[in-house]
Symmetry: C2
Subunit: 239 residues, 2 copies
């Protein structure tokens, strides 16, 4: 997302959703392969200037339909490798994308990154109570594991009809902000349900380049600015 | 869902999303407790006639914010208990709700239920490619573990604006049906993005009773009818 907003930064994305790796498709590098060098696995670069690189199990599967039918210990071992055996180079930010939950992937990544003093967790919720409940439990996880919380983002926050411009809160609204207030963590902003955004992610197109004047661009930009202004040092975000 | 559609059936719902148990909220039994009897844990009944009962880790947590910070082996042990130590009684259907993925929870429940010869997996996707990719991997999981596939359902399939009735395919469309065709498994139908449905689930209200004339009711009813006509015997569905 922050690909163009902060093109001077070096950003790594680590996708530890081992059963559902979606980052390669969203960034249009679905068919890339990971190679070995002396320093370890070379991550996949998204742009010519090599400002953004990705590591995902998606690059290691023979076909995209392969299921990763692994119990926890195998997942933990690969996550350790992804952090210690990848030639990430000098990064300003390492963004870790996790699956939902508070289990093996989350425990493993928090343990592996502890020595690097991560900035903390970026929690993404949708507005409805069921999702808010999941994020409440993730807040408890952060507290118990000593991981700071960067803030909460509300996704799928209202849908504006492209025909009549009426905004419908399909999944109710305001849950993310209320949770942030209650939990005394920063609320970073809302991202609306936007067909242009979901189609861009679908096709691996760069939404930021394609729709720089959209309200959704502004919403995302504001969130990125808030995060960057809170974190001026080299750091790790865990979403 | 099928609570009223098939009120003569005895249905059990086993929620094995241990880190994000959402079933108790959706069925308005969030504050219920599970008790012990000689035959094991007594599941929580949703209705007076005791035709639908639930077991979820949500009933075992001290507060709803408690995080289940468990690695795989602990999750596996609880899932085994949920199947063997719960006084389910005589059921026509046991519906198992799993988290996304193909890991500990899925491997454990397939192993535990093998002796009961489950009807198979009911795979739910949203229309976009990222979600279709996840369900493809789940199909591979079913093939490798010998679990039959009952069919595919497409959720969040188009949004009808309540103001102007224009239908927008927020997440593209048709992905679920195309995947079912490609994979040669039955396509069971689409459920639209419906604010009335999501608000009902949010508040634990019975959508089927509240909106029996809605298009979404018809969509859900058609799916249930298809499943029941394919499965006339006592059986287990794994969603």
């Amino acid at each position: 997302m922050s690909q163009d907003i902060q093109s001077k930064l070096m950003v790594g994305i680590l996708d530890i959703d081992l059963c559902g790796p979606s980052i390669p498709r969203m960034l249009n590098v679905l068919n890339s392969a990971v190679h070995q060098c002396d320093a370890g696995w070379v991550p996949v670069y998204v742009d010519k200037d090599k400002t953004m690189c990705i590591m995902s199990i998606g690059f290691l599967l023979e076909t995209p339909d392969d299921a990763v039918i692994w119990r926890g210990p195998k997942k933990t071992a690969l996550i350790k490798q992804f952090i210690s055996d990848v030639a990430w180079g000098e990064l300003d930010y390492l963004i870790v994308d996790t699956p939902p939950g508070t289990s093996d992937e989350h425990i493993s990544v928090v343990e592996c990154l502890r020595q690097h003093k991560p900035d903390g967790a970026l929690l993404v919720t949708t507005p409805q109570a069921v999702s808010i409940g999941d994020v409440r439990r993730e807040l408890t996880f952060c507290k118990k594991t000593g991981l700071p919380v960067v803030g909460i983002i509300e996704n799928m926050s209202g849908f504006v009809c492209p025909n009549c411009s009426e905004c419908t809160n399909i999944f109710s609204s305001g849950g993310g902000e209320a949770l942030a207030e209650q939990s005394r963590v920063p609320f970073l902003g809302c991202v609306p349900l936007d067909p242009q955004l979901s189609h861009s992610l679908e096709e691996g197109r760069n939404f930021i380049q394609a729709f720089p004047k959209s309200a959704t661009f502004d919403a995302i930009n504001n969130i990125v600015e808030k995060i960057l202004s809170n974190n001026n040092e080299s750091s790790t975000l865990h979403t």
